[in-house]
């Protein structure tokens, strides 16, 4: 092998070495930074970033390498074959391009990572050894195969680490800059380590001076110029990148702040970490007051808070929508639709929530108005229908009554006088009897009309009916801010009945209860519907937290046309009473300690009155 005395002994200028390491670190930082920009860009801009980035990074790596070479002093003059030097620079640029391309892909699978790092590592190693080959000195260069292999492997391993770091760091977050600095330092040191391993692999044996055509010597000034040029290029790249990032951030922020919607992002638990300007302007909240759970405490209407519900929705991790009132800076509340979509990591864990909050107050109000109008219309229609019915009843019943009264008066007058004949009285009384029968038939007919007798009564589960009604009236309760609670006993006996009629009774009782509870202000309005087994069948109770029924009115409450409500027509309870009666049960009012308690019974078997 080669004897040690035969080789030229080189020495390192350590301040130059330090400078080369510094360049490596700066180049690494630029590489990481540029990877982020390339990732963010699209189309031609991306290509421009990729080429300029590769050029800057390549120059950086090459400069480090070259600096490292210049830090190595041999006891003989060393010249450089400049075409080869340029070739090494080209290889560095190509290796950088590969690195940037791979690191800026949206996904990086292991094969891509390995291929990329092999190419990059090979590129860097190639650059190094091509650079070495550019040396022109009176010596032959020999390489230690072990160390060369080592240096190539190191290049590949470091490239892999660098790629993974760049890939990880390309997203711009809060901690990006410090982490990037750390990673860049690590990478810079690693690249240097590879370089100096490669240098160590070479030994120089004195020989005759080789062909010096195209060879140049590097004066100390040139040495510094390389460093300065490289630093300027790298600095320019990083600055451009930063300006571009700032501009695109500004653009994005401008878009987010001026969108006609309130935009926010929240942590996985739902605490806000960003609220756009429109959100802050609308609510009048400062950034501090809105972040965390402040948006809930300071802007959401107390009745719409239900913090637990929100937390559950956030915990569930599914996109969701909620309607809530938000306080405007002037103190008025408007209805908003809040939409939230989670962003997940690779394992499916929610890492962030993004959402918008859109003003739906006008829509909501017109919905409310429409519903109110429909209700009013329904009420008017009912009143008109009842008015017509009343008129019909009055007319139909008053005709025979008129005849009865007139005939009766005739009889009385005759009897008061002296001369009366039995025949004429008999004729009048017969007519009275006929008209009485006729009046009763009219009433019977109207009753049938009202009751809409259903011949086929099904065996019903009363709990099912209660639940159906609960669904029907849920909106009504929410709108009136009344909570409707059910306490249903399971396995109740089935009762024969008309589901529609029984629903009608329940709806009637609950609507009355809603009106009663909303008329008072003490406590949260609540309605409790209970079902239970009783002796003959089932018992259903509707209890409200309203003011209750005045004792003086208790006896009249089921009378037709009796009402305590300003807009009432006094038919609801009276019809309900008849319906329950026709089912063989009884509707009654229990005087309780608090609120009104209406209850009805329904017999379980065969006791139905037709």
């Amino acid at each position: 092998m080669i004897s040690a005395s035969a080789t030229l002994t080189g020495s390192y200028d350590y301040s130059e070495v330090a400078r080369s390491v510094l360049i490596a670190i700066v180049a690494s930082y630029a590489a990481l930074d540029l990877a982020g920009r390339v990732t963010a860009a699209r189309g031609r801009v991306r290509f421009a970033w990729l080429s300029c980035g590769a050029l800057a990074m390549g120059i950086g790596i090459w400069a480090m390498h070259f600096k490292g070479m210049l830090a190595f002093h041999l006891p003989v003059p060393v010249d450089y074959h400049w075409p080869t030097v340029l070739a090494s620079l080209l290889v560095a640029v190509l290796a950088s391009a590969v690195a940037l391309y791979v690191a800026s892909r949206h996904e990086m699978d292991p094969v891509e990572a390995l291929t990329g790092s092999t190419l990059m590592g090979a590129g860097i190693a190639g650059m190094h050894y091509i650079g070495m080959a550019a040396m022109r000195l009176p010596a032959t260069t020999r390489y230690s195969p072990l160390l060369v292999t080592c240096s190539i492997l190191l290049a590949i391993v470091f490239s892999l680490i660098a790629l993974l770091m760049a890939f990880d760091l390309r997203e711009e977050t809060r901690w990006t800059v410090p982490r990037r600095l750390g990673s860049a330092t690590l990478m810079g040191v690693a690249v240097s380590a590879m370089h100096y391993t490669g240098m160590a692999a070479a030994s120089f044996i004195p020989a005759s001076l080789p062909d010096l055509s195209h060879a140049v010597s590097i004066p100390p000034v040139g040495n510094s110029a390389v460093v300065i040029a490289a630093l300027i290029v790298l600095l320019a790249a990083v600055t451009t990148s930063s300006v571009d990032r700032r501009q695109s951030e500004d653009r994005l922020r401008l878009v987010i702040d001026t969108l006609p919607a309130m935009v926010w992002s929240k942590s996985p638990d739902g605490s806000a970490d960003f609220l756009n300007q429109r959100f802050r302007e609308y609510t009048g909240l400062s950034v501090e007051d809105g972040l965390g759970w402040g948006w809930m405490k300071n802007a959401v209407h107390p009745e719409d808070r239900a913090e637990q519900e929100w937390r559950t929705a956030f915990a569930a991790g599914q996109p969701f929508e909620k309607e809530a009132r938000l306080r405007r800076a002037d103190g008025t509340y408007r209805w908003f639709l809040l939409r939230a979509v989670p962003q997940r990591d690779d394992e499916g864990k929610v890492v962030k929530w993004y959402g918008t909050t859109t003003d739906i107050n006008d829509r909501k109000r017109s919905e409310d108005e429409l519903r109110q109008a429909q209700e009013d219309l329904a009420r008017v229609t009912r009143v008109v229908a009842m008015g017509e019915l009343a008129s019909a009843i009055a007319h139909e019943v008053n005709q025979p009554l008129t005849a009865i009264v007139t005939n009766g008066n005739f009889c009385l007058r005759r009897l008061d006088g002296a001369a009366w004949k039995a025949d004429e009285l008999r004729a009048a009384i017969e007519e009275i009897v006929n008209d009485g029968t006729r009046a009763s038939a009219v009433i019977f007919r109207i009753r049938g009309l009202l009751m809409k007798e259903s011949p086929n009564r099904a065996e019903l589960d009363i709990n099912r009916i209660i639940q159906d009604v609960n669904v029907l009236l849920r909106n009504e309760c929410t709108r009136n801010r009344v909570s409707l609670r059910l306490e249903l006993e399971s396995d109740l006996p089935r009762v024969p009945g008309d589901p529609v009629q029984l629903q009608q009774v329940l709806i009637n009782l609950i609507m009355n209860a809603i009106e009663a509870t909303t008329s008072t202000t003490n406590g949260r309005p609540e309605i409790l519907i209970r079902s239970a087994r009783n002796r003959d069948g089932v018992l259903v109770q509707v209890q409200d937290s309203g003011p209750g029924i005045e004792p003086a009115l208790v006896n009249r409450i089921f009378e037709p046309f009796f009402t305590t409500k300003p807009k009432g027509i006094g038919m609801g309870l009276s019809i309900s009473y008849s319906i329950i009666e026709s089912h063989g049960g009884q509707l009654s009012l229990e005087s309780g300690s608090q609120g009104a308690l209406f209850q009805f019974t329904l017999p379980a078997n065969g006791a139905v009155v037709s």
Binding site: Q399, T402, I404, T406, N407, N409, E431, N434
Partner: protein, 206 residues
């Protein structure tokens, strides 16, 4: 009753009501004529005796209120008592404004109906009497000569005989003769009597 017998017309579509009213009013000694529709009543010939009409509001075909209007248009001045099983205030107001005597809601008190009938017949009787008197006066007035009418018009307007003579260009005595002959023909006892008669006749523009 010494006067010509009165007639009560009843228009109601309900047989029982007609029958009962017939019995009640008949027992008071009044003549009753029953109709089940407005058309039937319009088709009948009305005798020239004091009468009134008991009219149901809700009738098939022509309603009670429409019948009232048609009678007014035809200048048939028969007092109307409305009866209805279901009346409202606007309906009542309309009927009363159009000159109804009474508006009764079924079932009504018999005395209310009988009082209304009395009132209605009395009103009709008075009207008929006044019309008869007016007819006599009109007949007398027809007998006056044109010159007598001219003189009477001036007398009634308050002019003295002398003034009348000057205006007509005749002697005062001639005026006196015309005047006393006219008084005689009109069967007026005094100047005041004559003025009243002329006012009722409404023959001269005021």
């Amino acid at each position: 009753m010494s006067e010509p017998k009165s007639i009560v017309f009843v228009v109601d579509d309900d047989l029982s009501v007609r029958s009962a009213i017939n019995r009640l009013i008949g027992s008071m000694g009044l003549q009753v004529e029953l109709f089940e529709s407005a058309q039937g009543f319009l088709a009948s010939k009305l005798p020239n005796v004091p009468s009134c009409l008991i009219l149901d509001i809700r009738l098939p075909g022509i309603s009670g209120l429409n019948l009232q209007r048609r009678l007014a248009e035809a200048d048939i001045q028969i007092p109307i008592i409305f009866i209805t099983a279901h009346g409202d205030i606007p309906m009542t107001v309309r009927a009363m404004k159009a000159g109804a005597v009474e508006f009764l809601t079924k079932p009504f008190r018999d005395q209310d109906l009988l009082d209304a009938i009395d009132l209605a017949l009395e009103r009709d009787r008075t009207r008929r009497q006044q019309e008869a008197e007016l007819a006599v006066l009109r007949e007398r007035f027809e007998c006056l000569s044109p010159r007598e009418r001219e003189v009477i018009e001036m007398v009634v307007s308050g002019m003295l005989n002398k003034q009348i003579a000057a205006q007509l260009g005749t002697a005062e005595n001639t005026v006196k003769v015309h005047r006393s002959r006219a008084m005689e023909k009109m069967q007026a006892n005094s100047l005041a009597d004559l003025v009243k008669m002329i006012q009722r006749l409404q023959v001269f523009p005021q």
